[in-house]
C-alpha cells in the first residue's frame, strides 16, 4: 500500500488539477503558471543530471530545448496546420491526440541526437573547456534556426495551436495542462530510475573520481554519452511542451538567457538532488510571478537573492540530498520509483 501511495496521490493530484481547471476554478493565468512550472521542473531536473550528478558545467541547455521545440512544432504543424511553405495538413484534426505524443517523442529524440555535439567532445574534454563547447552548441542551434527561412528564421514559427485545438475538438478539457503534468512526471520518473540504478550511479562516480571509475569497470565514455543524451533529450521534451503551451516559438527564447535561468534553478536547488531541482523550479517560477509587479527591477532582486543564497547556503536548498534523506520519516509515505 505504502509503496503506491505516493504514485497514487500524484495521479490524483494531476486529475484534481485538470478537473479544477476544467471547472474554471483555476483560471487561465494560473494554468499557464502551473504549465511553466512543469516545464521548468523538466529542465532543471534534466540539467541536474549533467551539472549536478556528473559534475560537468553545461551552459547550453536552452539549445537542446530549442531543438525539441522546433522539431515537435514542425511535426505537428506539418500534420495539422495549413502552412504556406509546409503545405496543407497531412492528418485530420481528430488524429491530434495520437500524433502529439509521437511529435513530442520525435522532438526529444532529435534533441538527444543534438546532445551528441556535446557528448562526443566530453570523452576527451572536461571542465571549463567542455563548458565552452556547450555554450558553442547553444549558439550553433540558435544561429542555424535563425538562418532557416523555411521555419521562419528570426521571426519565429507558429501554427502549433492547430494540434491543441484538434485535441480539444475531441474532448474539451485543458489538454496542454494534462500533457505538461504527465511530461513532468514522466521525466522525473525516468531520471529517478536512472540515477538510483547501479548503471546510473556510474555518473556521480565520474564526477567524484573519473580515473577510479574507469579502473573500476565503469565505461566512462558510455556513461557520458547516456548522461548527455538523456539530459538533452528530456530538455527537448520540455521544449516541445513549451512550444505548444505558447503556440509560438522564436529561436531567441532559447538563447543563453534561458540556459542561465535553468542553471540558476539547478544551483538554487542543490546539485545532485532531484527533489532539490524540482523544488527550486517551483520556487523560481513562483518567484518570477510574485515579483512581476516590480517589472524590470525583478531582474535586480532575483540575482540578488541568488547571491545571498550562495553566500549563506552555497550547497543549494537541498544540498546534495534528496527529500527522503533529510526527512527519513517521509520514506514511509512516499517512495517514487
Amino acid at each position: 500500500m505504502q509503496k503506491h501511495t505516493f504514485t497514487i496521490s500524484l495521479f490524483v493530484g494531476i486529475f484534481a488539477l485538470t478537473v479544477l481547471a476544467q471547472l474554471g476554478v483555476i483560471n487561465q493565468y494560473l494554468q499557464s503558471v502551473i504549465m511553466l512550472m512543469g516545464v521548468n521542473i523538466i529542465l532543471s531536473t534534466s540539467l541536474n543530471l549533467v551539472n549536478g550528478y556528473m559534475g560537468e558545467f553545461s551552459c547550453g541547455h536552452g539549445g537542446f530545448m530549442c531543438v525539441g521545440a522546433y522539431v515537435t512544432s514542425v511535426v505537428t504543424v506539418l500534420c495539422f496546420s495549413k502552412n504556406h511553405i509546409l503545405g496543407a495538413p497531412l492528418l485530420p484534426p481528430s488524429m491530434a491526440l495520437f500524433a502529439f505524443p509521437i511529435a513530442l517523442f520525435a522532438g526529444a529524440a532529435a534533441a538527444a541526437v543534438a546532445g551528441l555535439v556535446v557528448a562526443i567532445p566530453s570523452f576527451k574534454t572536461r571542465g571549463d573547456y567542455l563548458a565552452i563547447i556547450t555554450l558553442a552548441a547553444n549558439y550553433i542551434v540558435i544561429s542555424a534556426i535563425d538562418n532557416l527561412e523555411i521555419i521562419g528564421g528570426p521571426r519565429g514559427f507558429m501554427g502549433m495551436n492547430a494540434a491543441v485545438n484538434g485535441m480539444e475538438g475531441i474532448v474539451d478539457i485543458p489538454w496542454m495542462l494534462l500533457w505538461v503534468l504527465f511530461g513532468t512526471l514522466f521525466s522525473v520518473w525516468l531520471l529517478r530510475r536512472f540515477v538510483s540504478s547501479t548503471l546510473g550511479k556510474g555518473v556521480p562516480a565520474i564526477a567524484q573520481d573519473e580515473i577510479a571509475a574507469e579502473i573500476m569497470s565503469v565505461d566512462t565514455n558510455r556513461m557520458k554519452l547516456i548522461a548527455f543524451m538523456l539530459s538533452s533529450g528530456i530538455a527537448g521534451l520540455a521544449g516541445g511542451l513549451f512550444a505548444h503551451i505558447l503556440g509560438y516559438v522564436n529561436p531567441h527564447s532559447f538563447d543563453i538567457m534561458k540556459s542561465t535561468e535553468v542553471m540558476v534553478m539547478v544551483y538554487l536547488g542543490g546539485m545532485g538532488s532531484l527533489s532539490g531541482a524540482t523544488l527550486s523550479a517551483v520556487l523560481f517560477t513562483v518567484l518570477l510571478e510574485v515579483l512581476r509587479p516590480l517589472e524590470i527591477w525583478k531582474w535586480v532582486v532575483i540575482p540578488l537573492l541568488l547571491i545571498l543564497l550562495m553566500q549563506f547556503r552555497p550547497e543549494g536548498i537541498m544540498g546534495n540530498k534528496e527529500l527522503s534523506d533529510l526527512f527519513p520519516k517521509l520514506k514511509k509515505y512516499y517512495s517514487f520509483k
Partner: protein
C-alpha cells in the same frame, strides 16, 4: 599458461624511459612484490597493466588475452582489479554504493531495462547488492555500509578500497602501496587482511610496497626495479642479500 604475462614492456614519456624492457610471469594464486626506490617506474608498470597507459613497446597478456588497445574498464573486466597509491574512493557515495558501482561491468543491462525495471534488471541488481553485502560482511565493514568514506579512518578507507577492488572478483589484484600512510597497528591489520584475502579467494596478488615488513611477511617472490629496469628477481632471502638491490637503495660506498 600464466595468468599475467608481460613481455618486453617499455614505456617512454618523451625522452624519459619510465619502464624499460620489463618482463614478468605471474601464475595463479601467487603473491609477488614489486619494489624499488622512488621514481623507479613501479606505478607506471601498474598503470600499463591496468590499461591506463598504452605501452610504447612490448605486450601484456591477461588470461591469454592481449590487452593491446583496450581501455581500462575492458582490462578490468578481464579480471584485473587495483587500488591506488593515494586512496581514490568515491567520497560522496556511501561505502555500500562504492562497492556497488565498482561492479558496473556486472550490471550488463541496457538503459531501457533500467527504465522499465525488467526482470533482467532486477536479477542483476539483486546480484550486485548481494555480492556487496557479502563482501562487507566478510571484510568486517558491514557496520560502515551507509557511512561516507571520508568519515572513516585512513586505515578503514584502505580496507574499503581493497573491498571495492575485491567486488570485481578479480583473478589478479594489484595493490599500489597498500601500507602507505598507515600506523603500525593498521599495518598489522593490513598484513592479516591481505593474507586472508589470499587464502580465501582464488586471486593472485601483486603489490608495490615500500614497507619491507609487509613485503617480507607476505610475498614469496620479489622483483626489484630501478630507473625503469629490472635489477633483481627472487625470493625474499635472495633479494635481501643482493648487492645490486643494496646499491639501489643505499647508494655506492665509493665517493
Amino acid at each position: 599458461m600464466p595468468l599475467l604475462e608481460v613481455k618486453g614492456l617499455t614505456r617512454r614519456f618523451g625522452g624519459l624511459i619510465a619502464v624499460n624492457d620489463f618482463n614478468i610471469d605471474l601464475g595463479e594464486r601467487e603473491m609477488v612484490a614489486l619494489i624499488g626506490p622512488n621514481g623507479a617506474g613501479k606505478t607506471t608498470v601498474f598503470n600499463l597493466v591496468s590499461g591506463f597507459y598504452q605501452p610504447s613497446e612490448g605486450a601484456i597478456t591477461i588470461n591469454g588475452r592481449d590487452t593491446k588497445g583496450m581501455r581500462p574498464h575492458q582490462v578490468t573486466s578481464l579480471g584485473v582489479a587495483r587500488t591506488f597509491q593515494g586512496i581514490r574512493l568515491w567520497g560522496e557515495m556511501t561505502v555500500l554504493d562504492n562497492i556497488r558501482v565498482s561492479q558496473h561491468y556486472r550490471a550488463g543491462y541496457s538503459l531501457l531495462d533500467c527504465f522499465l525495471r525488467t526482470k533482467k534488471y532486477m536479477v542483476r541488481e539483486k546480484e550486485i547488492e548481494r555480492i556487496a553485502w557479502e563482501l562487507l560482511e566478510a571484510m568486517d565493514l558491514k557496520e560502515y555500509a551507509l557511512e561516507l568514506p571520508r568519515n572513516l579512518s585512513y586505515g578503514m578507507q584502505r580496507r574499503v578500497e581493497i573491498a571495492r577492488a575485491m567486488s570485481l572478483k578479480p583473478s589478479l589484484l594489484l595493490l599500489d602501496e597498500p601500507a602507505a600512510g598507515l600506523n603500525s597497528a593498521d599495518v598489522e591489520g593490513l598484513i592479516k587482511l591481505v593474507r586472508w584475502i589470499h587464502d580465501t579467494f582464488p586471486v593472485t596478488i601483486w603489490m608495490i610496497e615500500h614497507q619491507m615488513k609487509v613485503v617480507m611477511s607476505l610475498c614469496t617472490r620479489i622483483k626489484v626495479v630501478d630507473f625503469g629496469a629490472t635489477i633483481a628477481d627472487g625470493t625474499p632471502e635472495q633479494i635481501q642479500n643482493n648487492p645490486l638491490v643494496i646499491k639501489a637503495y643505499l647508494g655506492d660506498d665509493t665517493i
